[in-house]
């Protein structure tokens, strides 16, 4: 069945159909997706609980995190109200602005800890790469959705350039972690858009071949991270310390954990960065394998719900956009947990919705706002 292209305006706006109205859940009327909302609230609540313990019971930190959560949820709800097509307008603008800012960062950026990531805008510092985490997959989705899928090779090439150029700029800052993350979420859009399997095979082979070259251009601290990842015991008090302590925290949590606020690794400060990037280790220590499974289940639920929203979307653009957001969310989660549990190198990356900090939380919830918008602005043709 070919679905005809329809004009804007939703079933809700047409009004007057009592039967329809009755069948539409209250959350949809508010442009909210109930399963996503519940999943996010549960995750945020679990996160807050872990954070309270990780911060050593700091009411101050809790308060700030709570305010951030409220603001971010508010932003999510606000964005959900806007029809997804509105995003089309700003995506290109944001993408162009992002590229310009990345160039500016490369030229005039503020250095911090040996990396130039920040743009000083007078009032506040802005980290363009953070914004690009969302904007690049959105841009690629927008571009590819314009024409029939699977994309033509020429379009594929342009889409690849849209990913590779900012990724290289970010890698140059240097922020290898973020650049690889963005590259992979960009790749997932290509994949969802129907990137042929054989092209993926060729790309994979190329990437493997490019590894030695990548090693050659990496900064010393990046090389150190990789070496540490391969053998943390080599420098147990130096660069391997994070991973060793994190693994001890996770492993000593066992099946049922040491109990909330009872994790010795975290409460006695053996675990570094325990309320930010390594908060997963706190959770694993205090709630054990059971807590970990609960967290995994929540994430898997959110990701699958997001993917199913993508599948239910009625347009190529919204489908790709929803799929891209779902996969980006997944990658953030996977890389963080993989890094904390020692199967991926340490890249400074928070656990979405759990780690302390505002930027990543806002980015994540904006993404979910868009997902809700996509889902609740569908035209209910089939009713």
């Amino acid at each position: 069945m070919i679905w005809p292209r329809l004009n804007t305006g939703s079933a809700l706006d047409s009004g007057g159909v009592d039967e329809t109205r009755r069948r539409i859940p209250w959350s949809h009327r508010l442009h909210l997706d109930f399963p996503l909302l519940v999943g996010l609230l549960l995750l945020a609540a679990f996160g807050l609980m872990v954070l309270y313990s990780a911060s050593g019971g700091s009411a101050d930190m809790m308060e700030r995190q709570l305010v951030r959560l409220l603001l971010a949820f508010g932003l999510m709800i606000a964005i959900a109200q806007l029809p997804p097509h509105w995003l089309k307008i700003i995506t290109t603008t944001l993408f162009t602005a992002g590229i310009i800012m990345l160039v500016l960062v490369a030229l005039f950026g503020v250095s911090s800890k040996g990396a130039q990531r920040w743009l000083d805008l007078g009032l506040f510092r802005f980290q363009p790469s953070e914004m690009m985490k969302l904007v690049i997959p959105m841009m690629v989705a927008l571009y590819l959705a314009d024409k029939q899928l699977p994309p033509q090779p020429s379009r594929l090439l342009i889409a690849t350039a849209m990913i590779v150029i900012p990724v290289l700029l970010i890698a140059k800052q240097p922020d290898l972690g973020t650049s690889l993350l963005i590259a992979s979420s960009g790749f997932f859009v290509l994949f969802l858009a129907g990137l042929p399997w054989r092209v993926m095979g060729v790309l994979g082979a190329l990437a493997a071949a490019a590894l030695p070259a990548l090693w050659a251009v990496m900064k010393p601290y990046q090389k150190q991270r990789v070496l540490t990842f391969l053998d943390p015991e080599q420098d147990p008090l130096g660069s391997g310390y994070h991973i060793i302590q994190s693994k001890i925290a996770i492993g000593s949590g066992g099946l049922f954990g040491k109990g909330w606020m009872e994790g010795t690794q975290s409460q006695l400060s053996f675990l570094p960065e325990r309320h930010t990037d390594f908060i997963f280790a706190v959770l694993a220590e205090e709630f054990g394998f059971m807590g970990v499974l609960l967290l995994f289940a929540l994430y898997l639920f959110l990701i699958w719900r997001a993917l199913s929203i993508a599948m239910q979307a009625q347009e190529t653009y919204t489908r790709l956009l929803a799929g891209a957001l779902a996969m980006t969310f997944f990658i953030f989660f996977f890389v963080n947990v993989g890094m904390v549990s020692g199967i991926l190198p340490v890249v400074g990356l928070p656990l979405p919705l759990v780690s302390y900090g505002g930027t990543a939380m806002v980015t994540t919830l904006i993404g979910f706002g868009v997902l809700m918008s996509i889902h609740t602005h569908r035209k209910l043709l089939d009713t």
């Binding site: 070919i2 679905w3 302590q245 066992g254 010795t264 690794q265 006695l268 400060s269």
Partner: protein, 612 residues
């Protein structure tokens, strides 16, 4: 195709996307499954390993040093105990600017350069979150001053530690010894596990000898510490086991009487129970205050003690080696009887001089005009040298060496104190080995009157006297009253018929109780019979024709006065040896001291009945 590019095929696009989305779902599920496997590995499979590591991280074991055993005298008087002293302790890690802090602290609390150096030494040796002591023994005033300004000094605290206190101070300093801070040499010898957390160890005397018993066993406190080592709480503890209390044979009252008797003179008094070898008093003078060693003596004060010409640190009673002089004459006399070279009645004519056959060498008697015809009794009573020259000639050096050796001369008594010397009982062999010289007959005569190479400690003389009192039954001098049996003697009994002991002991009684006796001054008012023998140890060799004139000789060259005695003569309960350095004649200086000690022991209220 042109159409497709114009008008999108939504159906196939949706199908394509649906397929890809399912792949993505599978992919995410697969990776999350991978993470779960990883978690199972860490949290289930390697759980034990990580729990151990986690505990190693947070749990530290701190040693709880044991309280040292007390040292008590035979009546329970405390000779060494533990006391709490307050020290100023710094935790370098918690101090931002150590130099400034030290500078400000020194304005409040007196800290010497020595103490400062010691602090830096300790600080550099250990980890920076462990406390290092800057000052021991804070006065109340200093503590108050510090407490009032405490806010200025984060990382600085007043800490209570147990250190040693010696209530009788100098009186028992040589016997008890002292504890001191464990230094690097000590560390090599001590069991690290038992001394973890301990600051002190016995350095000399009983404190050193019985370190093993006194020290006790440390306990453990398992504490939870955070990443910088700060203690958060105690998880459990095994209490330490205090060291055993030591009960000494020493009688502090007797000790103090002996010490008073010596007064300002340099010398030693040893009192021993001849029945069992218990040391009742062991005094060496001058003495020192042992407490100044406990927390570390300042270099300057130590140098002053060490270089003091009167040698207060030197334990004369245990380690002082002096020519025994005439105090050995009773044993010599006994040797003559035992070896059958002389009988008790044989008289030697004494003209004040003696010459060996075929020798021009003249051996003088202390009494220039001589003692006239002298038998064994008179030889002991008047301490006739000529008699013993003749006796020595008859015995010969080998028999003298053998016989005197049975009384413990020339070998350490084996008392339970560290570093006891052997003294020196010369022999042909000794001279050959140490000097590579033959033995000259004249030397035998010198040995016979306790001079020449002959050296004995006051303790050895007391042991010899106790054996005389016992009719040859050996004893082993000891200080610690261990329940039941006294320690086995190292010497073998001297088995001789009573008829040989009696004339010798009678001679010693007459030394005190006859008018001619060299120690007759102490007989007055004595409520029991004393058997004694005076002696004079030459420090300064006179020229052949010179005469000893006390007035003309500088004090430190004057003879040492000796006196050995036991009482009551027929049922001995105490044997005493007294040495007074540069004290002149034994009868005059040393014998009254012995009498004072014997009086104090024998006439003590609880002993009235036992006196015959």
């Amino acid at each position: 195709m042109a159409f497709r590019s114009m008008l999108k095929d939504y159906h196939s696009e949706a199908r394509l996307f649906r397929r890809r989305a399912y792949v993505a779902m599978g992919f995410t599920a697969l990776l999350i499954l991978g993470l779960s496997v990883r978690m199972t590995l860490l949290q289930v499979h390697e759980y034990k390993h990580y729990v151990t590591q986690s505990n190693d991280n947070r749990i530290q074991v701190r040693s709880l040093p044991p309280a040292r055993g007390h040292i008590l005298d035979r009546n329970g008087v405390v000779l060494a105990e533990n006391q709490t002293t307050l020290s100023l302790v710094l935790i370098p890690e918690q101090i931002d600017d150590l130099d400034t802090t030290l500078h400000s602290l020194r304005e409040i609390v007196a800290v010497s350069e020595d103490e400062l150096q010691r602090f830096h030494k300790q600080r550099k040796r250990q980890r920076s979150f462990l406390p290092a002591t800057l000052r021991y023994h804070l006065s109340d005033e200093e503590v108050a001053r510090f407490e009032s300004q405490r806010y200025r000094f984060p990382g600085v605290t007043v800490e209570a530690i147990l250190s040693r206190n010696y209530p009788l101070g100098a009186l028992t300093a040589h016997v008890i010894g002292y504890t001191g801070r464990i230094n690097e040499d000590d560390l090599k010898a001590l069991d690290e596990g038992r001394y973890r957390g301990s600051q002190f160890t016995g350095k000399t005397g009983i404190e050193r000898e019985y370190e093993e018993l006194l020290h006790g066993f440390p306990g453990e406190s398992r504490i939870e510490a955070n990443v910088v080592g700060r203690v958060l709480r105690e998880l459990g503890r095994t209490p330490s086991q205090s060291g055993s209390d030591l009960h000494l044979t020493l009688d502090s009252r007797l000790q103090s009487i002996a010490s008073e008797a010596l007064g300002e003179l340099k010398g030693a008094v040893v009192a021993i129970d001849p029945n069992n070898g218990e040391i009742l008093a062991l005094v060496s003078k001058p003495s020192f205050d042992p407490s100044q060693f406990v927390l570390g003596i300042p270099q300057k004060e130590y140098a002053a003690l060490r270089d003091d010409p009167s040698r207060p640190l030197f334990d004369r009673a245990l380690r002082g080696q002096y020519p025994p002089g005439s105090t050995i004459k009773p044993v010599m006399g006994l040797a003559g009887l035992a070896r059958g070279v002389m009988d008790a009645q044989e008289q030697i004519d004494c003209h004040g001089k003696y010459q060996l056959p075929n020798s021009s060498l003249v051996f003088r008697d202390w009494k220039k005009q001589g003692h006239g015809p002298t038998d064994l009794n008179k030889s002991i009573v008047e301490s006739c040298d000529v008699y013993y020259y003749e006796l020595s000639r008859r015995l010969g050096v080998d028999r003298i060496h053998e016989f005197l050796g049975q009384f413990g001369l020339g070998q350490a008594t084996g008392i339970d104190l560290p570093s006891e010397p052997n003294g020196l009982l010369p022999s042909r062999e000794w001279k050959r080995i140490t000097r590579n010289q033959p033995w000259y007959p004249g030397e035998t005569l010198n040995i016979g009157i306790g001079q020449g190479f002959f050296m004995a400690t006051p303790l050895q003389l007391a042991q010899m006297t106790a054996m005389l009192a016992n009719h040859g039954k050996p004893i082993r001098p000891h200080l610690v009253l261990e329940g039941g049996e006294p320690p086995a003697p190292t010497l073998r009994p001297v088995v001789l018929p009573d008829s040989l002991w009696q004339p010798v002991i009678k001679g010693m009684e007459d030394v005190v109780h006859t008018r001619q006796g060299t120690a007759n001054r102490i007989a007055r008012g004595a409520k029991y019979r004393i058997a004694g023998k005076t002696g004079t140890a030459q420090v300064f060799s006179l020229g052949r024709d010179e005469e000893y004139d006390e007035e003309k000789i500088p004090e430190n060259m004057r003879d040492h006065a000796l006196f050995v005695a036991f009482a009551p003569a027929q049922q001995p309960q105490i044997a005493v040896a007294v040495l007074v350095e540069n004290g002149g004649h034994g009868g005059a200086t040393a014998s009254p001291m012995a009498r004072a000690v014997m009086d104090a022991w024998l006439l003590r209220p609880e002993n009235r009945v036992a006196l015959p």
